[in-house]
């Protein structure tokens, strides 16, 4: 049974290392990329996978039962909150003119037409 736990060790080490590598690359991306929107991609997105990998790597050594469930909760909160932050920051950066490195921009032509959902003429959202 020793070989089984050794395989688990190796898998966990691999997950931790690649999770850490993704965090490192995100930091390098922050330094090298040209504008807010591209940095946002580098800083927030691969981190999601990185965090999932680190949680997966930690899980076997983190005690049993309830503790592992907490790791799943961590990943779930990351999955639900990360896109909201990304959308908010992305759109504010665009409106503030900090998204410059664009080759195609189909969003620019839209600003003339006030057909935004948040306009006064739209009915309240149905949920």
């Amino acid at each position: 049974m020793i070989w089984l736990s050794r395989i688990a060790d190796i898998l966990a080490a691999g997950a931790l290392l690649s999770g850490g590598l993704l965090a490192l690359l995100a930091g390098l991306g922050l330094l090298r990329l040209p504008d807010v929107a591209t940095r946002l991609q580098a800083a927030t997105k691969p981190q999601t996978l990185g965090l999932m990998l680190i949680c997966a790597g930690v899980a076997p050594f983190y005690g049993e039962g309830a503790n592992t469930v907490v790791l799943i909760l961590v990943v779930m909160f990351q999955l639900t909150t990360a896109p909201i932050v990304a959308q908010l920051v992305g759109r504010s950066a665009y409106r503030a003119g900090h998204v410059r490195a664009l080759v195609v921009d189909e969003y620019a032509s839209r600003h003339d037409q006030p057909d935004d959902d948040t306009g006064p003429n739209t009915p309240p959202p149905t949920l």
């Binding site: 993704l22 690359l25 995100a26 390098l28 991306g29 090298r32 990329l33 040209p34 929107a37 591209t38 946002l40 991609q41 580098a42 997105k45 691969p46 999601t48 996978l49 990185g50 309830a66 503790n67 469930v69 907490v70 909760l73 999955l79 639900t80 990360a82 896109p83 909201i84 990304a86 959308q87 992305g90 759109r91 665009y94 998204v99 490195a101 664009l102 080759v103 195609v104 921009d105 189909e106 969003y107 620019a108 839209r110 057909d115 959902d117 739209t122 959202p125 149905t126 949920l127």
Partner: protein
């Protein structure tokens, strides 16, 4: 009374989260859950989640595995592009058609697309049934086509899993 029954799933989820966060089923945790969770609901007046259609559970494995594959491939691509091209990385904002009437489904679609590295939903245009998609690292028409196709496919996965009616859902 109708409003209360709508909130039961949310309340149950909050209680479950509370118990998991404390990691025990002691009486103190249970009693505090019954105090804290209704308080949360009272303070944050969220709209009740009432799915308009019946979710199709059988699509979950396909949708989930495709999401994970997208996540892994795109993470590597974003990391590689920022290493390799760095300051020369260019992006684009394009539109993709998404037809769906439910707010909840649209939210899940936008989150699904935004979670995948390299793409981001900048805005939603309900009237013209489309999303504005930010695409990271665009060097050719082909890059754009691929990003559009992947995002469309992700959106279709979500709509199919949530059981949303599919109208004009052909891939480009």
């Amino acid at each position: 009374m109708k409003r209360m029954t709508d909130r039961i799933p949310l309340l149950a989820w909050l209680i479950l989260t509370w118990i998991l966060l404390w990691g025990s089923l002691s009486p103190l945790v249970l009693i505090s859950a019954l105090v804290v969770t209704p308080l949360c609901l009272a303070v944050c007046r969220l709209p009740a989640l009432r799915p308009s259609s019946r979710p199709r559970v059988e699509y979950i494995p396909v949708a989930l595995s495709r999401f994970l594959i997208d996540l892994i491939i795109a993470s590597a691509q974003v990391a590689w592009a920022s290493l390799r091209r760095g300051p020369r990385v260019r992006s684009a904002i394009v539109t993709i058609p998404v037809s769906c009437s439910s707010d909840m489904a649209l939210t899940v679609v936008a989150n699904r697309i935004t979670l995948v590295p390299g793409t981001l939903v900048v805005d939603v245009d309900r009237r013209h049934q489309r999303l504005y998609l930010y695409v990271f690292d665009v060097r050719s028409e082909q890059d754009l086509r691929r990003a559009r196709r992947d995002a469309r496919r992700g959106a279709l996965d979500v709509l199919r899993t949530l059981g949303e009616p599919e109208t004009s859902q052909q891939l480009q």
